[in-house]
Subunit: 202 residues, 4 copies
């Protein structure tokens, strides 16, 4: 399975080359700490060439972001939509993150660290994507209810958001915040908590 964000450069495809170089750079540093020259060098092109393909640094950043986000969303959906039990789908999604992180640990920074900052428009785009994802998760939950896998008295929206939150626990913990090393058992435990809760009384 393809879980690499940054593919090997295809020479001749300058735009791609620059985009990937930019991603590479934005992974390590702030939008403001990365210079266009740096990106051009990383891409092996001249400074001016960057502006042949992207109207501005800002624009380039946005494209980097959606490039990464698209890849991530695609991975996410891939498992969400498999025809299988809802619990299995959810497990798959979360476990897929482990794999995704293993191959792109450092790289997911871009999505998580830079996310909310910088540009209003990007904000809007992100919110849109998140809403889509949320709706899809809610759809899955509804499917679960239909199949009686899932309690019918839950608040769907909250349950959806909490599910998305699980991915944060995994990604945030592993990548951003404390460089946690999560194993499959821990992730299993996490999903179990989502499924059964922590309370004893029932």
């Amino acid at each position: 399975m393809q879980t690499q964000f940054v593919k090997t450069k295809e020479p001749g495809n300058k735009r791609e080359q620059i985009l990937l170089a930019a991603v590479e750079k934005f992974l390590d540093k702030d939008f403001y700490q990365v210079t266009v020259v740096e990106i051009a060098e990383q891409a092996g092109v001249g400074k001016g060439t960057v502006y042949e393909y992207f109207s501005s640094k800002k624009d380039l950043f946005k494209e980097c972001f959606s490039y990464c986000a698209d890849f991530y969303l695609q991975s996410f959906r891939q498992y969400l939509l498999k025809p299988q039990s809802v619990r299995k789908s959810m497990e798959d999604v979360i476990f897929a993150h482990l794999e995704l992180i293993k191959d792109n640990r450092k790289r997911l920074h871009l999505l998580y660290n830079e996310r909310p900052v910088y540009f209003q428009e990007l904000q809007g785009w992100i919110i849109g994507r998140r809403q889509e994802l949320l709706q899809e998760v809610i759809g899955l939950l509804e499917e679960g209810i239909r199949l009686k896998e899932v309690r019918s008295d839950i608040n769907l929206e909250m349950a959806g958001r909490l599910f998305l939150s699980l991915t944060y626990v995994v990604m945030g913990g592993m990548i951003i915040i404390d460089n946690l090393e999560l194993n499959q058992d821990q992730v299993s435990g996490l999903i179990d908590l989502y499924w059964h809760g922590i309370g004893t009384e029932k």
Copy 2:
């Protein structure tokens, strides 16, 4: 209860004045997008005066951050440590966030939006605080297990992290991502999910 981050300016207390002005500014814009002059103007002081109290813009930002974070952590702990049922404590903490957000909605941005970027040292500080908080939550869960309120077979660390995640669902949803308007019912639903899970089989 005091839930205001930014108190009314006490004239004569220049340092506080500047700090609060800076918080105010950093709420709206990036570290890099806020200028020292802007902050000075907001504080009603001269540019040089800022440097009388803070050694650099960076330093000022860090102080803003811990200022906000300290306030938040304090609020958080206030409910965590109350002598009451574990579930009640957890509910209190989460509900307290509703209140906190109501009074400081825009202001909590600083904690969430700027969090991971910019300064390594701040990163370290944040991770440290988060670990402390996590340990306290885990402590609470252990208490819950002792009292048989909480299942004894859960993965404590994951349960702790998932609990912290609830606050993200609330804050993230309400403040950062989609400007959601959560009501008490919804938050109740969320806590219920944490407590009982979403699954039907048991």
Copy 3:
């Protein structure tokens, strides 16, 4: 003979252009009193361009200094090393200064006025060059002793330093201190003093 420090601008050679503009400016004013903008204007380039060729104002100053110093040292040595009587060599060196000053009067300021201040590294460089010059003068004196032109009982180091001092009397007097107008006779008298001393008894 080429005795001009600052050649006419060769357009296209931006680095040279800026360097010469900077020399021009540093002649009139302090390192601290000259601004980078001023230099840029004098050079007819944009402010940023200066930084394309020199990493900092400090660096630019250092290059100005060695530029001038190199030129001076070269002139100095040119006469020192001619195959002729030692006395003639010495006269040539000193007289050459008259010529040098005539063409670069104002410009030698840079070497004399700014000399000892500002940068430790430059200090070291100057001391090194001076030592070299001193050794060369001492070599000349030794040659003089071998040829019996020069008394064999003199303190070589002191004699060398005193010779260098003659150039100071000329340069210092003419350029820096009192804007003296020395003629060939006066300089002849000076060299005569160096050669014969002032005392009557022998």
Copy 4:
């Protein structure tokens, strides 16, 4: 004999206190690198107090300079005017420098390093003092001619300037340029050179 520039502070005499503190500071660093705050701290007074006694930093610097210069000139003259053989007077003056440097080595920097820079007015003042000194030395030489100690066919002005130059060889060598350690023999050799020249033929 009193050869210390900087006397012990007399408390209560704020002006003196500040002046001496400033001298102390200007010895180590540039005019531009020394801050008024630094001087105030060194003097043990408040920043504002400096301005009670000196109208500006510039003014303070000028006073420092003349303070040092006056002391130096006084030492210089002290020996120049003694009723004794001209050669002895000259030796005394030069040797006195050795003593002066021993006690104020680092401190004479102010006179030599900072001398020509910064302020036109100071320049004028220095030139004036130097002219006076030159005239006095020329007077001494005339006395020497009258007494037949000194050759009557020398260029007086040049001889005077060369004599002043001797002090530069001593001071410059010892203090500024190469931190030379001159002993009495070397200085004797130097004076001998001035007196007898370096040439063999006579």
